[in-house]
């Protein structure tokens, strides 16, 4: 019988842990290509007081996170254990004036974080579903209690850099506009290409805490 030095593992062994170092390197080398022309200092509040999570497995997630980081957000890499991430890295920062959490991630990450954040009074104000499954183009469904027009417009014009455009637009919209009169929904079919490492279904999201 062969003895192996490494085993790809069962469910608990998560590629996110294996790829963490690679992800950190990727964070350093992913240069901004587009964002400064759009996400200018004119945007009202920027992303200060925001934590943005990046999944190092997926370049679109990293690009999105970097676009918020440039506006002042604190970037944290997603870990396989979201409970540890929440209790060790995010929750303590709530006391230090962190007021928003955002990401372009797999859906399960949002699902878990919403439940971990529930007791702290977090409200999910925006969710966007970005879908490339079984189709040639992309489908985007946005919903939330923030103004969605700017996000939709950024997606429409963001071909080739949709994740970066989305991140910049979210900073702008969430910081400058408050829409309390209920939830809004926008659906779009676009021709944006998925990155080669894309899981082909992402959610972009924003949750906030009231000051």
């Amino acid at each position: 019988m062969t003895r192996r030095s490494a085993y790809p593992g069962l469910t608990e062994l998560d590629r996110r842990d294996l790829l963490k170092l690679g992800g950190a390197a990727a964070l350093a080398v992913l240069a901004p290509s587009w964002s400064k022309s759009v996400a200018s200092a004119a945007f009202a509040l920027g992303a200060k007081g925001t934590i943005v999570l990046a999944d190092p497995r997926y370049s679109d997630s990293l690009v999105f996170a970097r676009s918020l980081e440039r506006e002042g957000a604190t970037l944290l890499p997603l870990a396989s254990d979201l409970a540890a991430l929440w209790f060790d890295a995010i929750e303590p920062r709530l006391k230090a004036r962190v007021r928003a959490l955002a990401g372009l991630t797999l859906q399960s990450d949002l699902f878990v974080l919403e439940r971990l954040a529930e007791s702290s009074g977090a409200v999910t104000r925006y969710v966007g579903c970005h879908d490339w499954r079984c189709r040639t183009g992309s489908a985007h469904r946005l919903s939330g209690s923030i103004e969605l027009d700017g996000i939709a417009q950024a997606l429409v014009s963001g071909e080739g850099h949709w994740a970066e455009a989305l991140g910049a637009a979210l900073v702008s919209t969430a910081g400058a506009t408050k829409r309390d009169e209920g939830r809004q929904e926008v659906s779009m079919e676009l021709d944006h290409a998925a990155a080669s490492d894309s899981p082909r279904f992402f959610v972009s999201w924003l949750m906030t805490w009231s000051i």
Partner: protein, 524 residues
């Protein structure tokens, strides 16, 4: 929100006013926005049939007794949850539409005796809480936890939940229980029936009948505290992982493992098929972007590129270093007869930092729901895990049959086997689906029902079930004209004559609703 059956909105509001005087205004919830957390997050399109009328959150046994007084007087059905994280089986949602959720999350007391290695926990204590409590005190004890580990220690034990260490049979490692009965009476089980008896959390049995089992997966009382045994941190902990190349290898794997489980060499084990391994690490579209189940060519590509086997197996070995070393030799020899098997071992000494991927085998709770992303969309899963004997050939036949059933509804077969007792597996078969896709929800429901019915034809049944399938599974235990269920019903009528506690739980309905069900042929 629906009203409790038989109550007008005025009567319900009156009951809520009375409840507010007991627990305070903030802890009686009736508005829709404050009840969203009590919906089943994985509901396969049946959330509307299992919606709560409201929720009440007492923080003490005394408050629970007050709530029961109102419920009995007003005919208010209560659906008890510890934290409501019983996902895949309904979460916090009730069987009976319009029940009031009795949410015990505010009860969070923990007591640990490091010398005798046990803890008492209240319903609101999560595995994360208990782990942190023990780590902070540096007790040198390990817990056993589920994966994910954000659920209630007490709630999971009551549901016969499982983990991955030698203490993975959670009901088996529960000892001592405090229960509030429907009439408000409080009892302690086992040695706890004697005031101050120190053996309450140490010795499972009573002077007379053992009552603990009556309050597990049941609706005979409200469990407010249990004792759980804790494992001393071992001198050496070895993580053993195997891969096996072929589908048919599972027969030999199981037959080899059985001997090691029966003689105690291996304390517990988990086996996963390619799909469970893949879903824990990747998404389906990374391998195939067509509709329907993965074709064989995509499965083979996945296995090849991930460097996995058709099956993977993992377990821990625990104890003195020399004993663990000898067990490793025995284990290697036992599985070496399976052609192509590969074995990996990681060893830890007491106090070593344990790698995240080995955490659950060391009772370190974490939360990661990666498999939900398999199909994309709003991932969810339901299942009815079977209790299957540890017999290789029989399981291989069952596996192939269930693969065909999964395929027939367009799903990939997610299969896991966990042995926390030495003669059986719990066979998980998660049906992963997009809960926002009505067509997928319908297929998931249909497959769930088919799997349950097919298992019954083989005289096998689930050890747990989704709230929408509890009657179906309960009805399959039909020996002697359902004498077990008839006995449960007699107990229910005696212990909860007004029928206010968790109506419908595990197919046990109170008399009034049972009669309505018999007339209409459907659950109320």
């Amino acid at each position: 929100m629906p009203l409790p059956p038989g109550l007008s909105s005025l009567e319900f509001e009156t009951a809520c006013q009375e409840l507010r005087t007991i627990v305070g205004d903030d802890w009686v919830l009736t508005s829709e926005d404050r009840l969203t957390g009590y919906a089943d997050p994985y509901s396969p399109g049946v959330a509307g049939e299992h919606a709560p009328a409201g929720a009440i959150l007492p923080a003490s046994v005394e408050a629970i007794r007050g709530v029961l007084g109102v419920a009995n007087r007003r005919g208010l059905p209560l659906w008890t949850v510890s934290l409501g994280r019983n996902y895949a089986y309904g979460g916090a949602a009730p069987c009976l539409n319009g029940s009031m959720i009795l949410d015990l999350k505010r009860m969070q007391a923990i007591e640990v005796d490091a010398g005798l290695a046990y803890a008492f926990v209240e319903p609101g204590v999560t595995y994360l809480d208990l782990y942190k409590f023990i780590q902070d005190k540096k007790y040198g004890l390990w817990i056993d936890c589920t994966d994910p580990g954000w659920g209630s220690v007490l709630g999971n034990a009551l549901e016969h939940g499982i983990g991955y260490t030698p203490y993975g049979d959670h009901a088996g490692h529960q000892c001592g229980m405090e229960v509030v009965l429907a009439n408000g009476d409080m009892l302690r089980t086992g040695q706890g029936a004697m005031e101050g008896n120190p053996a309450w959390p140490l010795y499972k049995y009573a002077f007379g009948p053992s009552l603990d089992g009556l309050f597990m997966q049941s609706n005979f009382g409200i469990v407010t505290k249990i004792g759980v045994w804790l494992m001393p941190e071992p001198e050496t902990f070895a993580v053993v992982e195997f891969l096996f190349r072929r589908e048919e290898d599972i027969a030999a794997v199981i037959d080899s493992l059985r001997g090691l489980r029966l003689d105690g060499t291996v304390p517990t084990a988990t086996i996963a098929n390619w799909m469970r391994i893949a879903a824990g690490n990747t998404t389906r579209t990374e391998w195939y972007d067509g509709k329907g189940p993965l074709p064989e060519s995509a499965i083979q590509k996945l296995i090849r590129e991930m460097g996995i086997g058709y099956w993977g197996m993992r377990f821990g070995l625990y104890g003195p270093t020399r004993i663990v070393a000898e067990k490793l030799r025995i284990v290697e020899k036992a599985f070496s007869r399976i052609d192509g098997a590969e074995m990996t071992v990681a060893k830890y000494r007491r106090g070593d930092k344990i790698a995240p991927e080995h955490g659950t085998l060391a009772g370190i709770p974490s939360v990661d729901l990666m498999p939900l992303n398999w199909l994309g969309g709003a991932g969810a899963h339901i299942e009815c895990p079977l209790v299957v004997p540890m017999q290789g050939a029989e399981f291989l036949e069952l596996y192939r049959r269930r693969t065909e059933l999964f395929k027939s509804e367009g799903f990939d077969h997610y299969c896991g086997l966990t042995s926390t007792t030495p003669r059986c597996f719990i066979n998980t078969g998660s049906i992963i689906f997009d809960r926002n896709d009505a067509e997928q929800c319908a297929r998931a429901r249909a497959l769930g029902k088919t799997l349950i019915e097919d298992a019954s034809k083989r005289h096998l049944a689930g050890y747990r079930a989704h709230i929408s399938e509890m009657d179906l599974v309960a009805g399959q235990f039909g020996f002697n004209d359902h004498s077990a269920l008839r006995t449960y019903e007699r107990l229910k009528d005696a212990l909860d004559p007004e029928g206010v506690l968790s109506p419908g739980k595990q197919g046990i309905w109170p008399k009034a609703l049972r009669n309505a069900k018999d007339v209409e042929g459907e659950p109320p």
